[in-house]
C-alpha cells in the first residue's frame, strides 16, 4: 500500500502515531503527480519545492507536540478558480493565464491555518463553465477510469486527481453540478454544501448566487473532516451564513433507521441511462434494508430548472466576467486601434467559445426588452422551485436520485452540442437553484466498469443528515474501494 492511496483520516492517523511524516506523504503525492499526471492532466500548476518546505515546517510542529488538526500535513489541491496568495490562479483561461493573486481565498487561508499542504492547482473547464473539462485553455483532463473518456466538469481536475490518488483531497466549486457530476464520473465523494456555508471570498465568480465551494474526497469521513475546516461564517462574504455550524464528524453514524427518503419520479424518467437507473434503485434497496423509509414522489418543475439556471447563471456570468477587459490584469490583445478595439480583441482572444456563448446569452437576457421575458421570469421560476423543495422536505429528510443521466462519455461526444451538454445537468442544477446541499457517493459501476454516483439532496444546512446517510451506505457497500488508474 502506497501513502498516496490512503484517505485523509488514514494518513492523519499515521501522522499522529508518528508512523510517517508530512514530508514523506507530500513527496509520495509529488512523485505520483510526476509519474502519472501527464496521462490524466489534472494539474495546471504543481508546487514541488514549496510544498515540501511547507511539509517540513508542519512536520516540525507535529514533532513538537499534538497534531493541530486532522488536516495537519495532508496534501490538498485546489481547483484553479480558488485564489492562492502568490500562486498562479488561472481559471483554466488564457485570460488569467499568468494571473497571480495578491490574496488568499478564505478557504485557502483556512486550509493553511489548519496546516494542510497545498500541492497544486487543478484543471477545470474555463471559468467553471462546462461539464466535461474539454473547455480548459490548457489541456483536457482525462478520466482515470478510462483515459478516452471525460472526467466530468467543471471540477474535472479535482475529481480526477482524487480518483487517481494525485492528491489527498481536493476542493472544487459547484455552480450547477460542477462538483457532483465529476465526482459521479470519477467515482469519488463530492459535496456541494448549502449556499452560504463555505465563504466564496476568493473564489473567482462564475454565477454568484449559485457558486459554492466544496470538497472532493475518497470517502465520506474525509468529506466531513474537510467540511469542518472550510465551513463557517466569513465577514468578507455578505452571503455567508451567520450562525452555528455543527461538528460534521459527529454525523458519521452507521444508522439510517427511520430516515425518510424521497425519490422524485422526475429523476427516474426519460433520458436516464438504464444502468445508472438500476444502480440508483439498487442503492434504494440497500438503504431500505438498513431501515430507511424510501418512496417515490413527484417533484414538480424539475423540467424548468435547467432553463432558469442557464438564464440566471449566464446573466450573472456576463456581469462577473466583464472585468476581464485587458485594462488592469490578465491577458491584453497585442494590437488594437482604440479603447473599443482593445476590449473587443482582448475578450475575443482571451475567452474560449463556451465562455463567450454564456456571456452572450447572459447579456441578451438582461437587455432591455428581454429582461422581463427571460431574467425576471427565470427568477420567478427559481422561487417556485425553492417552494417545491420546501414542500418535499416537509415529508422527507433526504431526496435521493442519480447525479447525471449517464456515466462518463467519450471526448468530443457532446462538445458540438451545447444543449446536450446542458441537459446533462438536469439532476444537479435544481440543488443550486434552491441553494441546497448535495452529496454524491459512488453507488456502482456500469458494464464498461465506469463509476456511477448516487446523489443525496438535503434541506438547507442539512449536511449532517446527508453525511449520516452517505456514511451508512458507504459502510455497507463496497463501491468506493476499487482502485482506478
Amino acid at each position: 500500500m502506497q501513502l498516496y492511496e490512503l484517505t485523509v483520516h488514514e494518513m492523519s492517523d499515521l501522522l499522529a502515531k508518528k508512523k510517517t511524516s508530512a514530508v514523506e506523504i507530500t513527496k509520495s503525492f509529488l512523485d505520483r503527480i510526476e509519474n502519472i499526471d501527464s496521462k490524466v492532466g489534472s494539474y495546471i500548476s504543481v508546487l514541488g519545492e514549496d510544498a515540501v518546505k511547507r511539509a517540513m515546517k508542519v512536520q516540525k510542529e507535529i514533532d513538537k507536540g499534538e497534531m493541530k488538526t486532522p488536516l495537519s500535513g495532508i496534501p490538498v489541491a485546489l481547483k484553479d478558480n480558488i485564489c492562492t496568495d502568490g500562486m498562479r490562479t488561472t481559471c483554466a483561461s488564457k485570460m488569467l493565464q499568468n494571473f497571480v493573486p495578491p490574496y488568499n481565498a478564505t478557504v485557502s487561508k483556512k486550509l493553511l491555518d489548519d496546516n494542510a499542504i497545498i500541492i497544486g492547482k487543478l484543471n477545470m473547464d474555463e471559468f467553471a463553465m462546462g461539464g466535461s473539462n474539454e473547455n480548459s485553455y490548457f489541456k483536457p483532463v482525462k478520466n482515470p477510469w478510462d483515459l478516452d473518456r471525460v472526467p466530468g466538469g467543471s471540477s474535472g481536475g479535482s475529481a480526477a486527481a482524487v480518483a487517481a490518488n494525485l492528491t489527498g483531497f481536493a476542493l472544487g466549486s459547484d455552480t450547477g453540478g460542477s462538483i457532483r457530476q465529476p465526482a459521479s464520473f470519477c467515482g469519488v465523494v463530492g459535496m456541494k454544501p448549502t449556499y452560504g456555508t463555505v465563504s466564496r471570498f476568493g473564489l473567482i465568480a462564475f454565477a454568484s448566487s449559485f457558486d459554492q465551494i466544496g470538497p472532493l474526497t475518497k470517502d465520506v469521513t474525509d468529506c466531513a473532516i474537510v467540511l469542518n475546516c472550510i465551513t463557517g461564517y466569513d465577514p468578507m462574504d455578505s452571503t455567508s451564513f451567520k450562525g452555528e455550524y455543527p461538528d460534521y464528524k459527529k454525523a458519521l453514524i452507521n444508522d439510517v433507521k427511520g430516515i425518510k427518503i424521497g425519490i422524485p419520479k422526475q429523476y427516474l424518467g426519460e433520458g436516464l441511462d438504464s444502468e445508472v437507473k438500476k444502480a440508483v434503485l439498487e442503492a434504494v434497496e440497500v438503504l431500505k434494508k438498513l431501515g430507511a423509509q424510501c418512496e417515490e414522489f413527484s417533484l414538480p418543475l424539475t423540467e424548468y430548472a435547467i432553463s432558469a439556471y442557464y438564464i440566471i447563471s449566464s446573466a450573472e456570468a456576463s456581469s462577473n466576467l466583464a472585468r476581464y477587459d485587458g485594462i488592469k490584469y490578465g491577458f491584453r490583445a497585442d494590437e488594437f486601434s482604440d479603447l473599443l478595439d482593445l476590449y473587443k480583441k482582448t475578450r475575443s482572444e482571451g475567452f474560449g467559445s463556451e465562455v463567450k456563448r454564456r456571456i452572450m446569452l447572459g447579456t441578451f437576457s438582461l437587455s432591455s426588452g428581454y429582461y422581463e421575458d427571460y431574467y425576471k421570469k427565470a427568477l420567478k421560476v427559481r422561487t417556485l422551485i425553492k417552494k417545491s423543495f420546501d414542500e418535499a422536505f416537509k415529508k422527507y429528510d433526504v431526496i435521493l436520485g442519480p447525479t447525471a443521466p449517464t456515466t462518463a462519455y467519450k471526448f468530443g461526444e457532446k462538445l458540438n452540442s451545447p444543449i446536450d451538454m446542458y441537459v446533462g445537468d438536469i439532476y444537479t442544477v435544481s440543488v443550486n437553484v434552491a441553494g441546497l446541499p448535495g452529496l454524491v457517493i459512488p453507488c456502482g459501476f456500469d458494464k464498461k466498469g465506469l463509476p456511477i454516483g448516487l446523489q443525496l439532496i438535503g434541506k438547507a444546512f442539512g449536511e449532517s443528515t446527508l453525511l449520516k446517510v452517505g456514511f451508512t451506505f458507504e459502510q455497507n457497500t463496497n463501491y468506493n474501494k476499487k482502485a482506478s488508474i
Partner: protein
Amino acid sequence: MEYEVVIGLEVHVELSTRSKIYCSCATEFGGQPNTHTCPICTGMPGVLPVLNVKVVEYAIRAGLATNCHIAEFSKQDRKNYFYPDLPKAFQTSQYDIPICSNGYIDIEVEGKTKRIGITRIHIEEDAGKLIHGDDAALIDYNRCGVPLIEIVSEPDMRSAKEVRAYLENLKAILEYIDVSDCKMQEGSLRADVNISVRPVGQKEFGTRTEMKNLNSFKAIARAIEGEAERQIQVIKDGRVIVQQTRRWDDAKGMSFAMRNKEQAHDYRFFPEPDLMPIVIDEEWLEEIKDSLPELPQARKRRYIREFGLPDYDASILTGSKVLADFFEKAVKKASNAKVVSNWIMGELLKILKEKEMEVEQIPFPGEYLAKLVLLIEKGTISGNIAKKIFEKMFSQSKDPEVIVKEEGLEVVSDEGVLLVVVNKVLQNNLQSVTDYRKGKKKALGFLVGQAMKETKGKADPQVVNKMIKEELGKFK
C-alpha cells in the same frame, strides 16, 4: 411666444465616511494615485463587496433631512458598462428600490417659498479617474468605491435662480447633517441638469437634454441659461429638440452633444447577487431621527425669533453651517447679535471674497469676533481702529485683545494727554484757527482730523472735539 424652462437635477454627493462603501480603504481626497486601493475596490478576480453600514446611515440622514420616505427594504443593483475607470465593469448602485423616496425641500426665491420635490435618494459607488498623458491614459483608482448618494429632484424648477436656491439649500442641509463636505471643486458635490422648454401654459413637458460637466454654481446657472436659449432657438427655427446628453463647456459658454438617446447605454441593471437586501428596522430609524441636528430653515427661523435678526441676515448666516456656528460662538459672548451679524455680513464676508476663501477657512474663532465687538462697546478702541485690528486678526489669526495690548491701540481720552496734542495742532494750523474764528465752522473738522492723525487714530474723537472747541473759545 413666451417660453418656460423646466429643470430637474441629479446631484451626486460624496459621503464623508472614513472608509469606502464596499471595502476598508480610506476615502480621503488626494493622495498618490492608487494608494487608497485594495483588491476589492480595484475589482480583482474573486473578491466580494461588504456594505459599509455608515453609508446606509448617511443616506437615511439625507433622506430624513429632505422629508423622504425611508424604505424598510431596499436592494442594490449592478449597472453594467465598460469603461477603464470602472474596474469591475459594473457600478453597484440602486435601481428600482432606493433607500429614500418622495421627499421635498422648500426654497425661497424673491421672497416666495416654493416646494421642490425629491424623487429619490440612492446609494452607489464612485468610479476612478483617468489621467490623460501625451501618448497614454493612466488610471487612479483612489476614488473607486468612495460612497455617493444620488439625489434626484422632480422637474419642479423654472429658472437658474431656483436651481441655485435649491442647490444652496441642499448643500446647507447636507453640511448640517454632516454627511458630506460638499466641495464642488473637489468633486464631492456634482450636479447633472435635465432641462427642457415649453410654451408658457402648456402642460406637457418638452423634450429634455441632460447637461453634464458642471463644476460650480455659476457654471450651472450659465449652462441653464445657455441651454434654454439654444432649445428655444431650435424650436423657433422649426427644428426638433433631440433627447441627448450634452457636455457644458463653461469657457466657451456652449454645450456640445455627447450622445443621443439611441446611443445611450443599455445598463442591464440586475440585483447585485453578492450583497444582501438592505433592511432598515424601526428602532434604528428612530435612533437616526433623534440624532439629526437643527436644519437650516429651523435655524433661520430661530435666528429671527431669538436674535431679532432681519430675514436677510438670518438667511445668509444659516446658509452655511460653519458660518452659523461661527456666529453663535460670537453671539454667546457679545450679546448684541445685530452688531455681530453686521461684522460677519460686512467685513468678514468681504475679506473672504477678496481673498477667494471659503467660510471653512476663517482663520480665527467666533470668540475673537466677540472680543472685538466688546472692545468697541466698552470704548477701549474706536471703530476705525477696530477695522484695522480685524484685518490683523484675519492675517495673523490673533486675539484682538492681544493686538490692542501689543500695539497700544486703546482709545486715549485722558484730557491731560490730549491737551498737549490739541495745543500742538492749533499752533501748527494757525490759518484754520483764524478761519474758524471768522465763522468757518468747517475748519473745526479739519483740526479734529489733524489731532486724530497725530494720535494715529487712538484719540477719543468726541473728547478731542470738545477740547478743541474749548481751546478755540479761550483766545478770541
